[in-house]
């Protein structure tokens, strides 16, 4: 992996920006286009591009596969768990007004933030897990064949 110097420098610069942008899309989804799905994909792409350029071993050191598989399930749990918390507080499933009973609008904000975070975590996890699954198999061709 000593070749592709330009690629490696640019990816190093871009990965942090991509993660930052993903977080912006995630948490600014209330005000601008975007939300969990898009943010999850952008976040996953940051890790995938790092894996493509620097090799699977390096990205596994940052984000080991077992953690990715936990993330896949964690997102759904966060989403469903929000609904369960609402139920425990005596409201309907996924009625976020329960989170701050005296001011239901704020509760909606918190609830939307929580479920979008759940969506984002699951999408990130699934995309990275699929990429790992593909990349972990030995490739049939070398760089030059493209």
């Amino acid at each position: 992996m000593r070749h592709h110097l330009i690629l490696r420098v640019i990816v190093k610069l871009l990965v942090s920006t991509m993660i930052l942008y993903a977080l912006y899309v995630q948490f600014h989804g209330d005000y601008s286009p975007g939300g969990g799905f898009q943010a999850g994909v952008i976040m996953a792409v940051a890790f995938i591009i790092y894996g493509i350029v620097f090799g699977l071993r390096k990205v596994h050191a940052v984000l080991p596969p077992w953690l990715v598989h936990k993330l896949v399930a964690l997102g759904v749990l966060v989403y469903g768990g929000t609904g369960v918390v609402n139920m425990l507080q005596g409201y309907e499933f996924l009625n976020y007004g329960s989170l701050t009973p005296h001011h239901p609008e704020h509760g909606q904000h918190w609830g939307i933030l929580a479920v979008e975070a759940g969506v984002g975590i699951t999408v990130t996890g699934v995309m990275i897990a699929i990429y790992y699954a593909f990349a972990a198999r030995p490739p049939r061709m070398s760089d030059e064949e493209w």
Partner: protein, 173 residues
């Protein structure tokens, strides 16, 4: 331009170029969505269609082959199926209301209610997010579960438990 890209995709047999062109196709579709003021959809199309699926297709090509196999069947039956389906779809659009028609069923049912009430019920400026995450929270939970299931399915099919535990060892063999 969408049509030209689609024809180019159908004509190519080098799969690398096909994957790149389908990324271009997604970006053009995203532009179309922006033109129709559906920014959220366009964003998703650009991120998912042009971004991640291109990468996944490249991964698939790396595992399989990079040139399309010559087709052995006659192209007439698929062509007929395409023409019939396309004609049915175009016939269906004839009855649809014009784009932006205020009397269209979409704009007279629950749409206005969401637009009017979401600002003081939810207090989130982006109505799309309010509908997705709050009014239609069950649906989005279902979508997340679908993504989850799809991910689990791909993992079971491709990686397998043994490979998942120890990817580095697998690489060496």
């Amino acid at each position: 331009m969408l049509v030209a890209t689609a024809i180019a995709i159908a004509k190519m047999d080098r799969l690398f170029a096909v994957v790149m062109l389908s990324g271009v196709f997604s970006l053009l579709a995203a532009l179309l969505f922006v033109n129709m003021d559906a920014v959220d959809v366009a964003f998703t199309e650009a991120a998912v269609g042009a971004g991640i699926s291109t990468v996944l297709m490249l991964g698939t090509i790396a595992l399989t082959s990079r040139v399309e196999k010559p087709s052995t069947q006659s192209p007439l039956i698929p062509l007929a199926a395409c023409i019939v389906t396309g004609a049915a779809l175009i016939y269906g659009t004839l009855d649809m209301p014009n784009f932006g028609d205020p009397n269209a069923p979409v704009h007279t049912h629950v749409g206005p209610e969401y637009l009017e009430n979401s600002q003081h019920e939810i207090g989130v400026p982006n109505v799309v997010t309010a509908i997705l995450a709050s009014y239609r929270g069950y649906d989005t939970l279902g979508e997340t579960a679908v993504v989850f299931t799809a991910g689990i399915g791909v993992l079971l099919l491709i990686s397998g438990l043994r490979r998942r535990r120890d990817p580095d060892e697998e690489e060496d063999t």
